[in-house]
Amino acid sequence: MLGSGILKGLAVTAKNFVGSYHNPARMVTQEYPDVQPQLPANYRNFPFLVTENATDPMGTMRCVACQICEKECPPQCIYIEKSKDKKPDANGKLQLYPAVFDIDTAVCMSCQLCVEVCPFDAIKMDHVFAIAATNRFSGLLLNREELAKPNTYFHEIRPDEAAEVDGRLAAERAAAEEKAKAAAAAKATAATATKPATGGAAAP
């Protein structure tokens, strides 16, 4: 009969009206500034640079300015200038570091490719999303000081991934130390065996 479909529709909306008062599954609204969203660990928005500690962020940056991310970045929002000198990294190896590391967050599309291609676990995705600024350049173009965040922060936002990365880096470090020890031992044996030449300069 004419009208039965309309009545059924009215019944459904009425049910939803009542349900909205007692069934939280129906209500999905989050009252945003009052209630901050619970971001999943995998949430990604804008990269940051991982530093080993918070006290000396520029000195302990993992980034070695290899510029792979700059090349792979689809919208080309990363800009890196290599340093002229070298600094020792966490493994004690001398590495370049980025003298300039800019990310234009107005261009960045948070695709995470920089993170995936980084062989040093130096760049990771952040959880910030409220980055409104009044100036496009001073506000949205982040330089390396603004990008650097300590490893503890990484642990805070993505505990699982950070632990895995730490484990891997620790293993690498251990392996490097092992190798260095072995090399030193070999060198020592070599030195004891044959006195002259080859020593000195090669030791890290």
């Binding site: 039965s4 059924k8 909306t13 939803n16 999905v28 995998n42 949430y43 689809p74 948070s110």
Partner: protein, 374 residues
């Protein structure tokens, strides 16, 4: 007896609907010539969102184009990813591990749910509801987007598929949540259908509106639910049998009239089939790696050659045509956009109908301007 409008013959009215119009689904524009409220001419105008995606892709590496495919049809980033990965895998001869194949099916079908629920919501908005069906649909869509977010990190720009596999392996908790959501999805569909499918106004507004003939639709390259609404049995999941779709039990709903109502119902019925596919996928998901060990993330250089990979996207056949010259960048990168080609018949469908119908016909074709204009 002479027709009335002969005696009151007046001027035609040309209205430019769009690019800013509530119902053109973005920055689409239709230049409509009206006789009273009747459409005597309709010319679609494209390009307001054109960014030459193909040119950008030809000047970057294969991998770098992947996040850009998210932005084609921004409701269905997972399907777009897969279509592109499919083409590149065909071009480079990569294989995909079983678990990744299942995950791809899961993601693609979840995307179908997202897209179709959005579509039916927006269709009702075009039909003049005050957002109620749209918001019910969005409520369900949000839940799926939450899943996407917790897995891939982003709600809509998932960037999830890689050549030779997927990027992240979902933990068991995610799978359980997704499975529960999928199991509850038919309840939403039932409620939705009770609310609107039998509604007299809905029937009057959609049945017999903008009917498409099967031969006409095939010749015009219409694909996806719009084609199947005309009764043509052509679903690439069955025809091309890409991915692991042959392992899944599902049916392809077919319409008979090809009108707006059939196009709407195709979406509803496909969502029900998608739910079945998803339930089966969650049951059978094997353990194992999710990436082809041969696949390289960086510096991927396929051999010289070309490949056309296509899949059944929610909107129709989404194809990627790639030509490799052996370098890291594709020589030719072409997207076959279902949204654009499904608009081929728009003028034919709208002629002689009113503005109100044109809006509904456009809504039922289901376009996303990110893909139309690329």
């Amino acid at each position: 007896m002479r027709a009335v409008h002969d005696e009151f013959h007046g001027d035609l009215l040309e209205v430019s609907m769009g690019p800013q119009h509530p119902s053109t689904h973005g920055v689409f524009r239709m230049v409509v010539t009206l006789d009273g409220e009747q459409i005597v001419k309709l010319k679609p105008v494209f390009g307001y969102l054109h960014r030459n995606h193909e040119k950008i892709a030809e000047s970057t590496s294969y991998l770098s184009s992947m996040p850009y495919t998210d932005r084609l049809d921004y409701l269905c980033s997972m399907s777009n990813n897969w279509a592109y990965a499919l083409a590149v895998e065909k071009l480079g001869g990569l294989t995909v591990p079983d678990r990744a194949q299942y995950l791809r099916v899961i993601m693609a079908e979840l995307t179908r749910l997202v897209n179709h629920s959005c579509l039916v919501g927006f269709l009702f908005n075009d039909l003049g509801t005050s957002f109620t069906p749209l918001l019910y649909a969005f409520r369900e869509r949000e839940k799926i987007l939450d899943l996407f977010e917790s897995l891939s990190g982003s709600r809509m720009m998932c960037n999830y598929q890689r050549f030779g596999g997927c990027r992240v392996d979902p933990p068991p908790a995610w799978l359980a949540a997704a499975s529960a959501l999928v199991d509850n999805f038919p309840r939403f569909l039932d409620e939705y259908e009770t609310m609107l499918t039998g509604n007299e106004i809905m029937l009057a507004r959609t049945q017999g509106i903008g009917p498409m003939g099967a031969a006409q639709a095939i010749n015009a390259g219409i694909t996806g639910p719009c084609l199947r609404a005309t009764g043509v049995d052509y679903d690439l999941r069955k025809v091309d049998a890409y991915g692991f779709y042959p392992r899944f039990n599902f049916r392809v709903p077919l319409g008979a009239h090809g009108d707006t109502y059939d196009r709407y119902m195709m979406r509803i019925l496909e969502m029900r089939e998608s739910v079945k596919i998803l339930q089966q996928a969650f049951r059978e998901l094997p353990a194992g790696p999710i990436m082809d060990p041969k696949a390289k993330l960086r510096g991927f250089r396929p051999k010289v050659g070309e490949a056309y990979g296509r899949l059944e996207g929610p909107k129709g056949e989404l194809g990627f045509y790639l030509i490799s010259d052996g370098s890291t960048n594709p020589w030719r990168y072409r997207v076959r956009p279902p949204s654009l080609i499904n608009l081929t018949l728009l003028e034919e469908l709208c002629l002689g109908r009113t503005i109100a119908d044109a809006v509904v016909i456009l809504g039922s074709i289901d376009i996303v301007l990110g893909e139309v204009d690329r």
